[in-house]
């Protein structure tokens, strides 16, 4: 098991998203499409590949998703800012973990991540961004399941 032990405030992120979830998901006009395709991507990841998948998906959200969504409602801005900055903190911690523990990606995991990117790029940019934001609950629960606070490990 090559998990990276990271201190993260997953509860606060989930609480932040719950507060804006309805408003964000209401903006998604393609309800029958998924970008994360969780059952084919996230839920099939072995624990040794969790670190790599987390790093790539968080990088994807930071680089593409948050950036391509313009939000005027301050309440939603604050919720998304909490998650975006938390993702940045986790990604920075994973970068350090990578250099220490070879959190490298096996081919199989990389192709699962590529499926997410392909799904995203098949949609118009703003529609894809809002859909990915709406799927944050899927990603956050996956992260929560895979990262235990240090005290309990």
């Amino acid at each position: 098991l090559r998990r990276c032990l990271i201190s993260m405030d997953i509860h606060h992120m989930e609480k932040s998203f719950q507060g804006i979830k309805t408003a964000v998901q209401a903006k998604d006009s393609f309800q029958n499409i998924t970008i994360l395709s969780a059952s084919e991507t996230l839920y099939n990841i072995t624990s040794s590949d969790v670190c790599c998948m987390t790093k790539d998906v968080l990088q994807f959200y930071v680089d593409k998703v948050f950036r391509n969504h313009e939000e005027s409602d301050p309440r939603i801005q604050r919720g998304l800012s909490t998650i975006a900055n938390s993702f940045l903190h986790i990604r920075n911690a994973l970068e350090q973990c990578r250099s220490q523990k070879n959190c490298y990606c096996r081919k199989e995991t990389t192709s699962k991540f590529q499926l997410i990117v392909r799904n995203y790029e098949q949609m118009e940019v703003k529609a894809a961004a809002i859909k990915s934001l709406g799927e944050l609950d899927i990603l956050l629960s996956w992260i929560s399941r895979n990262y235990q606070p240090k005290a309990t490990t």
Binding site: S7, M8, D9, H11, H12, S16, V62, D63, F66, R67, P74, Q77, R78, S81, T82, A84, N85, S86, F87, L88, H89, P149, K150, A151
Partner: protein, 204 residues
């Protein structure tokens, strides 16, 4: 009458103790007038990825006191910047910003206030409720030659926690520190407190 040139509020800084973060600045004085202030913030994400983007603070969009509780704005362990402007009627000053960015991992952690209680032979400890981020590392031992230190993590303050069932007449000592997992830091230990269990005869 001549428009008043509103200066940007000076001396902006964050004071943080036990994960409560207060932004303060020096007031802008206009004789006979009430000057209001507006506060906005940027996390590391906004600074690097959407640098022109500032977010209105949760509680301080139009306040008259030169102070703002920004605890609910600082919700990740990254560097944050704040800006404040003065507002008088339709006039606004320029924004002033922090001289140094603020990261919550620099908060001052004080050692915890603790109460130790004996209930019969039971040694019980209680901590103040310091909020959701705080746990307590407790070290306790029987005061006797080559006695062993024991440890316990108390997950939250504001509730009674049983430490040990004491031997009659023995003295027990306790010390504790706070632990904040999300910034990976802990406070100094507090003052050791000791308590003696009743003698066996006392209870008959």
């Amino acid at each position: 009458d001549e428009a008043v040139i509103l200066p940007a509020p000076p001396d902006l800084s964050v004071h943080s103790t036990n994960m409560k973060h207060i932004l303060t600045w020096s007031p802008v004085i206009v004789p006979g007038e009430t000057v209001n202030y507006s506060v906005e913030y940027q996390g590391e994400y906004e600074r690097y990825y959407t640098s022109s983007h500032w977010i209105p603070s949760s509680w301080c969009s139009s306040i008259s006191t030169p102070e703002c509780n920004v605890t609910d704005d600082i919700t990740a362990t990254v560097a944050y910047n704040f800006r404040v402007k003065a507002i008088l009627g339709t006039q606004s000053s320029a924004w002033s910003t922090l001289k140094e960015l603020f990261n919550r991992n620099s908060t001052v952690l004080t050692s915890p206030r603790m109460k130790i209680i004996k209930d019969g032979y039971h040694l019980i400890v209680e901590f103040e409720d310091m909020g959701p981020y705080f746990e307590f590392n407790v070290t306790y031992w029987k005061k006797s030659p080559n006695s062993q230190e024991l440890y316990k993590i108390v997950r939250e303050g504001g509730s009674l926690e049983h430490l040990v069932t004491m031997e009659a007449g023995a003295e027990y000592c306790v010390k504790a520190q706070t632990v904040v997992e999300i910034i990976e830091r802990s406070s100094a230990f507090n003052q050791v407190e000791c308590i003696r269990a009743q003698d066996e005869s006392h209870l008959l």
